[in-house]
Point group: C2
Chain length 156, copies 2
């Protein structure tokens, strides 16, 4: 019976998502974050809006959404170019609010590449609703292992 009650309290994470193993720094502080890898370079990252993500209106704080956008879009450089990266510029447009309990997902697509600068266009949503659109410019650094690993060394 106790187990049943505990299970009811677990957040419902959609199938295919695994929790990212960020054990230190800012990634741990704002987590947990989740990732689902699809075919052909497709991926989504996600988080469940919890109390420690909120602003005073109990919506997701804009800072959290921007932090998540940085991680969701930049990952396109990791996956498609197998490079570490740093953020050069990020433009975020806030379309609608994410509320506590919303499962927020995001992904990015490389739309431009010149020398070491990658331009990534991305979208953040929950259910059918767009939360944010974003465009980022990321500078690629050294090569990273092609196989995804969960301790992200240089992101952000």
């Amino acid at each position: 019976m106790t187990d049943d009650l505990l299970e009811e309290k677990l957040p419902r994470i959609p199938e295919g998502y695994v929790q990212m193993n960020w054990t230190q720094g800012f990634g741990r502080q704002i987590g947990p974050l989740f990732e689902r890898i699809g075919e052909g370079g497709a991926y989504t990252r996600a988080f469940l809006v919890s109390e420690h993500h909120t602003n005073g209106m109990k919506n997701c704080h804009g800072g959290m959404l921007m932090s998540f956008a940085d991680m969701a879009l930049g990952h396109a450089v990791s996956l498609n170019a197998h490079r570490f990266w740093v953020t050069v510029r990020l433009l975020t447009d806030f379309i609608s609010a994410a509320e506590i309990g919303d499962f927020v997902e995001g992904t990015g697509e490389v739309v431009g590449e010149e020398d070491d600068l990658f331009t990534v266009r991305g979208r953040i949503w929950t259910g059918e609703r767009t939360i944010m659109s974003a465009t980022g410019v990321f500078k690629a650094l050294g090569a990273r292992p092609a196989k995804p690993h969960w301790i992200q060394v240089a992101e952000g």
Copy 2:
């Protein structure tokens, strides 16, 4: 002797700064944050880069810098228009890295106002070094108390 040792471990916060009393949500999660109010609407906000702000290179994570920019620039709407606000758009340019132990400061200036939309230009720095430049568009909501108070209700 013990007191001496403990004091050495305290972060050195410049004179005039007070710690913001964010006791819940994202503001607490990424804190502590500090604020210094000057004359004629001038202000700076600040934070000391700590382990829970870092990326894998032990620099300040880009998400933290963007979150701080949101709070530092948006505050110009609170102080100059005495309104609550939400972020509509934020553009952030990453100029240089902030390292662990850096005391990072930022401020914003209202450079445009049309109906309820305020455009704010801002800068984030540490010491003599610029970390980020940013431009934000914020939508003003209802009136807020003219006297600053530390529980920020609607920011972000």
